[in-house]
Every structure is written in structure tokens, then in C-alpha cells.
Amino acid sequence: MSALARIEALRWRYSIGPWVLNDIALEVQAGERVGLVGRSGSGKSTLALTFNGIIPQSYAGQMGGRVVVAGKNAVTTAVSEMAHDVAMVFQSPDDQMSQILVHHEVASGPANLGLPLSDVHRRVADALSRLHIEHLADRETSTLSGGEKQKVALAAALAMQPHLLVLDEPTTDLDPRSRAELVQMLESLEDGLGIVIVSHDLDTIAPLVDRLVVVDDGAIAADRSAAEVFAQPELLSTHGIAVPQPVVIEHAQRSGQDPETLLGHRTRGAPSVATQVAIELRGVTFAYPKTSAPAVIDVSMQIGRGEIVAIVGNNGSGKTTLGKLMLGLLQPTSGHVYLQGEPIERLRPDLVGYIFQNPDAMLSQISVLEEIAFTPRLLGRADWREQTSHMLSRFGLADLQARYPLALSKGQRQRLAYAAVTAAGPPIFIFDEPTTGIDKPGCDQIMEYMDALRGEGKTIVFITHDMALAARWADRVVIMHTGRIGHSGTIGSLADLSDDELAHYHLRLPPLLRFARTPVA
């Protein structure tokens, strides 16, 4: 049987830098579902872009080897011509919508193929109904949620009626509910369509794939059936991939490991909340202008000094608004926010450091040095020079101090953003979705940094929809739901929530936490 896609001796390097793909050989059969997994920067997304010729045609670089999909040479056939056979869905739902209305978005691909109008309409109707999103047809794409956008992007890809569907980190930017819905949709796709899914999140894609290709350092480290890979979890951890939780549990059960240790929770002495309050909210309600329902409703809570608190919830639950209220970026419609006992009426970078999801948005200066010195200088700190120099060495940026911030690598830019906020020396830090789209080693690095700050007596609030992350690192979890606090308590208290309660909050308890808290018979 001839393969649907065949890659032979593939090598690729961008015009600047080393080879990012080295001697890749890979086959995908019709109807097969292949997971391309690996840590950030391993080359898996670059490899995915070769299936329809985006690499080498849209990027400057050097290539060797062959990529043949559905009998067409993807290296020399125009990307738009390859669209007959290969459809792609990208990571960011925001970056792949080109039309104003949803049904126009889905129709744009078939229309580009020059199909008769009746065929275009039929394909649009088919794609929308396969994914059960007919109700979105007349909506404007800019008004959709991230999950809805990703479903529309998938419908637009399916409307092309491709032989091969390539999904590049399709669930990374989605909340757990949208992620589960998208995975369910992908599971329901019929046989015959070859699917390649790029991801570093095996927990999400494990139910979807027959085969796993582990990519590391531009080469294929393993290419086996999913069952074989899961039988050797160390293979995944060696290459910086988080082992799916059900696999971890299965191995722990087999080896008789203590369930509690699996969670890896950092146990600490609980700070005295009653005597040392860092953040206090009293009856805080906030409504955005021209909206009917408030985003945050009557929230009262206290966060003690030196605590790490996770605020979890789905998109639209009010968790980011709550973070902005704590920061002073938004002023409550009613109620009060106190930081270190003082009512907060304006932004106080000396009191609270806020780390945004996209660190690039935080970089505005012309050099690394200027970036770090920026806030201490604005605050009129006499010791800004010493502080800047300390941060440069603490975050390993001393050799890069003259470089332009946006010209640094992704990891360096992230470290710089953290250094810049830490330089102001605030006692409270708020992290907004700090680990979204980041692989396991990167994620661990960020969380270790938070832990180190906590070790220095800082108070940490992190906003996330990753329950596993919250369970591992937080002292306390606050679940936000429709603007209110749905649940607040220690990690242990999460296991007491019933399935109905969790479903009500649109959350799922991580299998590992559920297992770790299961009483031993």
C-alpha cells in the first residue's frame, strides 16, 4: 500500500541558524492518526509545515530530501495547489480567520479552489453540520470565543475535503472545556482522513492518536504505536514531554508507588493568613461599561503573605478581571481592594508585579538593560543601577544587556520580562496564564521561579485553567464561575468536589489528583 504522505531524508535550516530538521524519514497512511510530539523548539511544527509546502516555499532557508503527499511533491507544488490535498489548523485561533462572517470563512477555501457555487454551499453546510456549529454560521468571526474560532478553523479545513489534515498545537490556546469539545470533534471524524497532530500536550491528544512520533533536536527520536510509547514513559520524559496522567497512574499502580507522591505537590508550612494579609477583597463587584452582567460579583477573599494562590476557571469566568482588580488596573464598581492593608486606587508597580500571558507585550525598550531599569527608574529608586545589575546576573542576561529585547530567543524574552517586573521589587506578583502554550521543561522553569519568589516571602497569585498545575504548585485554589467564587480551599478540598459540582464549573479534576486522593482500600 502506498503511503498518503512520505518524507524522505528531509533536512531544513532557516536562512540564519543551524539545521532544525535532520534526516527525517516519516510515512503517514490514509486514515492514520499520528501525533508529532516534542519539547518547544524540537522542530515538530517546522516538520508539520513541510506537509503542504509552506516550508520551503514561504520561508527562506536551505532544504534537502523529499516530501510527497497524495502523489504531489510538496517541495515544488504551490502551497495553494497542495490545498486540494492538505488542510491545516494552526495554534492561534485569532490568526487564521480571514473573513468577517463564519460561513464566509468556511466557504473561502472551497471558493479559492474555484468550485461551482452549489458545491461551495454544500461543503459549507456539511462542514458546519459535522462539527455541530450551524448556529455560528451568521456570526462575525471577531465576536467568537477562542474555542468557537478553533472549531470554525477546523470546519474551514474540513470544507477543503483534504486527504491529510495537519493540526499544529490546535488545543494549546483553549480552555479545558473548549479543548475537550475540540478533541471530541476530532475523534468523531470518519476513517479515511489522515491526521497529523502536533502537540506537547499528550494528555489532550493521547485519545486521538494511533502512533506517536517523538521529535527532539530536529530528529525523530522514536516512531512507535501509542501503546508502545506509553509502555515506556521514560522515553517521553527523556525528551521533555509530560507523560499523560493515566499512564503515570497505571505505572504507579503497577509499582505500588504512594499515590500522594505522584502529585509532586510542594508541601510547605501554611502562612498565617489571619495576621499577615497581602491582598484583601471586600464585596468586590465589577461591570465593564455597556455590559448587562457584571464580570465579577460580590467577591470577598483574603490572600496571606507568602501564599501561592491559583485562580482557576473557564474563559469568561471572571478570573482575569479579578486579577486586574487586584492589580488596580480596574476599579471596582462596588466594594474595596486592599493591598498590604492599603486601599488600592491606582496602579502600584512597586507593590504588585503583573506578568502577562504574552511576555513580548511587556518589552518596549531598546536594550535589555534599559528594559530592566525601566520601572525602578520610573519609580525614582536610588538603587536602580545595583538592582538592574543584580537582575541581569540573576536571570542570566548579563551578556545580553546591550541587545534589542525583541531580537532575543523566546526563552530569553520570557526571562527578561520576569527580570523587568522583579526589578521593581514588588511584594506581590500576579501571573496571568503563565504556562499557556509552554512545554513541560519551560513550564517547570516558570513555576520554579514562582516558588523561588515565594521563598523570598513574596505573595503569588497565578491565573490558570490548568488544574494539574494548580494542584501541584498552589497552597490554595480559588475556582471562579460566572463572576463569583465557586469554591475556595486547599488542594485537598478539590477532591471533595463532586463530579456534578466540577461539571457545573466546567472543570475536570486532573486524573492524577483524583487518584492521589483516592483512599487506599
Binding site: L49, I54, A78, N112, G114, S142, L329
Partner: protein, 264 residues
């Protein structure tokens, strides 16, 4: 996320008119307004306002634009009327020889009539046409589909870029930047830097956006299937032709008058 639209929902004949027809009529009306004598410009503006109201678009829906236009409409003739040129009679003396002059007032009224009429026509076009119709209108007139695509793309992303701008401003504020304090020049410079950062941020996403579009076969065919709008009806074509002829006649009349006056 808000959408970028000035559209006022309705089912009037103007709402139902083919967007390509509306676009052509708008362009022709634009030219006619320029060519006709100034009192007719005001008549155009008034007729458009009444017609629009009859189509269910109340002036209250565009009251801000109307207010700004009214201020400009009153200010321009008055200021122009104060500007005396030789031989221009004084019609309303304020203090000695200082006051309003007839020719100056007329010229001002001609200019403000032109802007008011064009403004009203633009409101009529935008308030009765959906953004996606507007984007695709040129395609149905035979212009390459890339133009319609680019317009749709711009309409699609403008609200998002505006949101990014606000987010970026928030990020800077959290780092101690104040956009409301300091000298005007400093604040202006701060806004320029913010815009530069926004541009860099948007450009960093261009590659993904372009890949996504290319992966859907964009530019594969010179003439993609027209799926957004129906073909232009015959009656609309006849209407466009008639208005085009009237505009042509008025333009020819103006040209003849211009050359005759020069030769005289």
C-alpha cells in the same frame, strides 16, 4: 470583542439594494455633488437625511457625526464670510467695515454643503450596508477578488488590533507608565512608541496569518468562486447606467461652461 460596523439593521429598499450598485451610485453621487451649484448640494444632503430616515435609519443613530458636521457647517461659512476680498460686498457689518461678506459666505456655504452632502452619502452607504457586503462589493464589479479579500481582512482585524492596542497600553501602565501625565510632547512621543510596539506585535503574527490563508488555496485561481454576494440584478445595472448618464451630462455641461468662460 466588538465588531467594526456602522450598520443599522433594516429591510428598506436601500438596505436591500445590491452593495455593488450602492457603491457605484455612491461614487456617482459623490461626483454629482461636486459638479452641481451649491444650493443643490444642500438639497442633496437634506434629501439623503430624509431618505435615510424613511429607510429606518434615524438621525439619532449617527447623532455624533451629525453634531460634528453641524459645527463644521456653521463655522466654515461664518469664518469664510469674515474674510474680505476686493469687491465683496459687506452684508452684515459687525464693527465698522468688519463683518460678513456675501461672496465669502457663499463660498463657505458651497464648501460646507459639499462636505455635508458627502458626509450624508457616506452615512447612507455605511449604515445600510454590512461590512462583509461592502468588502465584497468591488469583486462583483469585476475588480480582482484579492481587493475584496483585503478589505474583508482589514474589517475583520481592525477591532482586534484596537483591542491589542488597549492591552498593550495596560501592560505599560502596569510597569509604571502614565499616559495622562507630563508634557504634551512627551505624551505624544509615548503614544508613538506604543504604536511602534503594536506594529511590531502585529507584524510578528503576519507570517502565521499568511500561512493560514495560503493553506486554504488563496490565489490558486485568478477568479475564485463568488460566494458572498449574488450577481447584480438587471434593474440595478439600468439604474447605474441612468445615473451614470446624468452625471456624464452634468460633467459635460460644467466642462463646456468652463471652456466658454475661459474663451470669453
Amino acid at each position: 470583542m466588538r465588531s467594526l460596523s456602522f450598520y443599522v439593521a433594516g429591510h428598506s429598499w436601500l438596505h436591500r439594494m445590491h452593495p455593488s450598485t450602492k457603491l457605484v451610485l455612491y461614487a456617482l453621487a459623490f461626483m454629482l455633488t461636486y459638479l452641481v451649484p451649491w444650493p443643490l448640494r444642500w438639497a442633496f444632503a437634506a434629501l439623503t437625511l430624509i431618505g435615510l430616515w424613511a429607510c429606518g435609519v434615524s438621525p439619532a443613530k449617527y447623532r455624533f457625526v451629525l453634531f460634528v458636521t453641524a459645527v463644521a457647517t456653521l463655522t466654515v461659512p461664518l469664518l469664510n464670510g469674515l474674510w474680505a476680498v476686493e469687491g465683496d460686498p459687506l452684508v452684515l457689518p459687525l464693527w465698522g467695515d468688519f463683518g460678513f461678506h456675501r461672496l465669502g459666505l457663499e463660498t463657505g456655504l458651497a464648501f460646507s454643503g459639499l462636505y455635508t452632502a458627502i458626509g450624508m452619502l457616506t452615512i447612507a452607504m455605511l449604515s445600510t450596508t454590512q461590512t462583509w457586503e461592502l468588502a465584497e462589493a468591488p469583486t462583483m464589479l469585476g475588480i480582482h477578488h484579492a481587493v475584496g479579500f483585503a478589505l474583508a481582512y482589514a474589517f475583520r482585524y481592525m477591532p482586534e488590533v484596537a483591542m491589542h492596542y488597549l492591552d498593550l497600553a495596560d501592560v505599560w501602565r502596569t510597569r509604571g507608565v502614565s499616559f495622562s501625565e507630563g508634557w504634551p510632547w512627551d505624551r505624544f512621543w509615548l503614544q508613538c512608541r506604543l504604536l511602534a510596539a503594536l506594529l511590531i506585535l502585529e507584524f510578528s503574527q503576519v507570517r502565521t496569518k499568511s500561512n493560514a490563508v495560503e493553506a486554504r488555496g488563496f490565489s490558486l485561481k485568478h477568479r475564485a468562486t463568488y460566494y458572498v454576494l449574488a450577481p447584480i440584478p438587471r434593474a440595478d445595472k439600468a439604474l447605474m447606467l441612468s445615473v451614470g448618464l446624468v452625471t456624464g451630462v452634468v460633467a459635460a455641461w460644467n466642462a463646456a461652461n468652463f471652456f466658454l468662460s475661459r474663451s470669453a
